[in-house]
């Protein structure tokens, strides 16, 4: 999209870029000023470590894992590809957002407060994931191969070598 990925010399920017960049810079400066100005609450050094860690964990672990999962799903036969990808995506999302219930110590912060994390989160996961995978299996077994599957002439999609350069 920037043009850099496909080897074009220099990405094009609209007339609005520099005004937007200037405005964004001002807003960022305001945020940075506030963050540093409330250092006893925001602990800028720790904040920066957490920000860097979030980026590194995403870029070095999450993103490669998603790419690998995407690649593996791409190798499935046409009829399984979309349903499995859908079920995987739903599963990953649901597991991710309930992870703090399993990993964290929320209930321990106030022993005796039945309002905190009142759900049985293992059961919750089962409630969402079982139907998701059931639907996926049903969709895959009841459907013929997708057009994309036929496009590849067999089980896996054709590598679209030129497909990404057109844009």
């Amino acid at each position: 999209m920037t043009g850099a990925a496909d080897g074009s010399p220099r990405p094009a920017y609209g007339r609005g870029f520099w005004p937007a960049a200037a405005a964004g810079g001002l807003v960022m400066a305001f945020g940075g000023w506030g963050l540093l100005g409330h250092a006893e609450a925001t602990m800028p050094a720790a904040w920066a470590r957490w920000l860097a860690a979030a980026l590194l964990i995403h870029d070095l672990l999450v993103a490669p894992a998603l790419l690998a999962a995407g690649w593996l799903v791409g190798r499935l036969s046409g009829r399984w590809r979309a349903p499995v990808r859908a079920a995987l995506l739903v599963s990953a999302t649901v597991v991710l957002v309930t992870l703090p219930a399993f990993w964290g110590d929320g209930r321990a912060t106030q022993p005796g407060n039945a309002s905190l994390l009142p759900n049985h989160y293992g059961r919750s996961l089962l409630l969402v994931l079982a139907p998701a995978w059931a639907v996926a299996v049903l969709a895959a077994t009841r459907r013929r191969a997708t057009p994309l599957g036929r496009l590849g002439g067999g089980g896996r999609p054709r590598r679209r070598a030129g497909g990404r350069r057109g844009g």
């Binding site: 220099r10 904040w47 995403h58 995407g70 057009p147 679209r160």
Partner: protein, 371 residues
């Protein structure tokens, strides 16, 4: 890495970008509103009506935040191969755009992560959640402006321009991409609806993934802090308890429980709307704050400071602005849903006011100071 899945196409990125842009805007604006109410500014008097306004703004904050998690990860997935482009920058504008990705992506990840951990009462980070979340939001939104300056034309071209149709690829690829986007939508929808269940009472049963159920607690109402946790059990049960109405008044009041009970003549249906997003309506019975102020002979005041028996912590008190103090439904409540207040809901009396964040509905009220 060659090829890539049909999901890694500018059209998918642009579509997710639009969805994420809407979600982030809602989240940012509602977050600012919540901050403005809790840290009042001279130029804004938060109104007491409509009654449920804060309930919806803060509910929108929670839902837009939680759906942003799958949207953000999906969007990053569609562009992840660009992270390793070489050379890293072609020209000044490109360098600025890419540098802004550090606060944009880092800030977004940090906001969503700390927001999620906060609603689950898990604090593995050393900094204060509220203050850091607030300032990180400004940094992230600033970076988002830079990003929009670079990408808005690109996204528009990918979705609508004449080149859009040509770049869409064969029908099969477009269809696969649509399926991917639909799946991201379904995943976001599942978590979004589940969190909506902790806000909209008829959807309560769907709140299986959320850290709160709007009916889990004594008297069918959630409790944020128990009396034991803030060490007010003894003071709240003390027979010598007196509510004090003091400050700029002609006749300071010192009222015991029986005297308060004798004045508890008003019922109101008002929600508890927590800053953490959950909310639930209830029927309260108590003494109108307005009536107490009149009885004490309060002059022309600007605010009423409400103090709790709870001596410490940021929520040991709150401030009622004039519209809130004068609203007929603003009560010092003694009863909840027809029964005396549970100790964890603020016995002997708690504040309940329309369109007021939960943390400002002070429990175990000790005094009202008119200023």
């Amino acid at each position: 890495m060659t090829g890539g899945s049909p999901a890694q196409h500018p059209r998918a990125t642009a579509a997710l970008g639009v969805a994420l842009g809407v979600a982030f805007t809602v989240c940012f604006v509602t977050g600012l509103i919540s901050d403005l109410i809790q840290e009042p500014r001279a130029w804004l008097t938060w109104p007491a009506r409509p009654r449920d306004l804060y309930r919806w703004t803060q509910g929108a904050h929670l839902v837009s935040g939680i759906v942003s998690i799958p949207l953000l990860l999906a969007k990053l997935f569609t562009v992840s191969r660009k992270l390793w482009v070489w050379p890293p920058a072609r020209g000044l504008a490109h360098a600025v755009e890419r540098l802004a990705l550090v606060p944009l992506v880092g800030g977004s990840l940090l906001l969503l992560l700390t927001g999620l951990l906060n609603v689950f009462y898990w604090y593995p980070f050393p900094f204060s959640f509220t203050t850091t979340h607030y300032w990180t939001a400004w940094i992230t939104v600033g970076a988002l402006l830079v990003h929009l300056g670079a990408k808005l034309p690109v996204a528009r071209a990918a979705l609508r321009g004449p080149a859009a149709a040509a770049s869409a690829g064969p029908d099969a690829l477009a269809q696969d991409r649509r399926r991917f986007l639909a799946t991201v939508g379904v995943a976001a929808g599942i978590v979004g609806v589940s969190y909506l269940g902790s806000i909209v009472s008829p959807l309560r049963a769907l709140a299986v993934l959320a850290p709160r159920r709007s009916d889990a607690g004594p008297q069918g109402l959630p409790v944020n802090k128990t009396a034991a946790d803030v060490e007010v059990v003894e003071a709240a049960r003390d027979p010598a308890y007196r509510l004090q109405v003091i400050g700029a008044v002609d006749r300071p009041l010192h009222l015991g429980l029986a005297e308060l009970r004798a004045r508890a003549n008003r019922e109101a249906d008002l929600p508890i709307a927590c800053v953490e997003g959950w909310s639930v309506g209830a029927r309260w019975r108590g003494v109108p704050v307005r009536a107490l102020l009149a009885e004490a002979g309060a002059g022309p005041f600007t605010q009423v400071v409400v103090r709790s028996l709870q001596r410490q912590g940021p929520y040991a008190g709150s401030v009622l602005n004039r519209p809130h103090a004068m609203d007929p439904d603003t009560l010092l409540a003694l009863d909840l849903n027809g029964a005396p207040l549970h100790l964890d809901h603020g016995f002997p009396v708690r504040l309940i006011a329309p369109n007021n964040p939960g943390v400002m509905q002070t429990k175990w009220v000790r005094s009202l100071e008119v200023r």
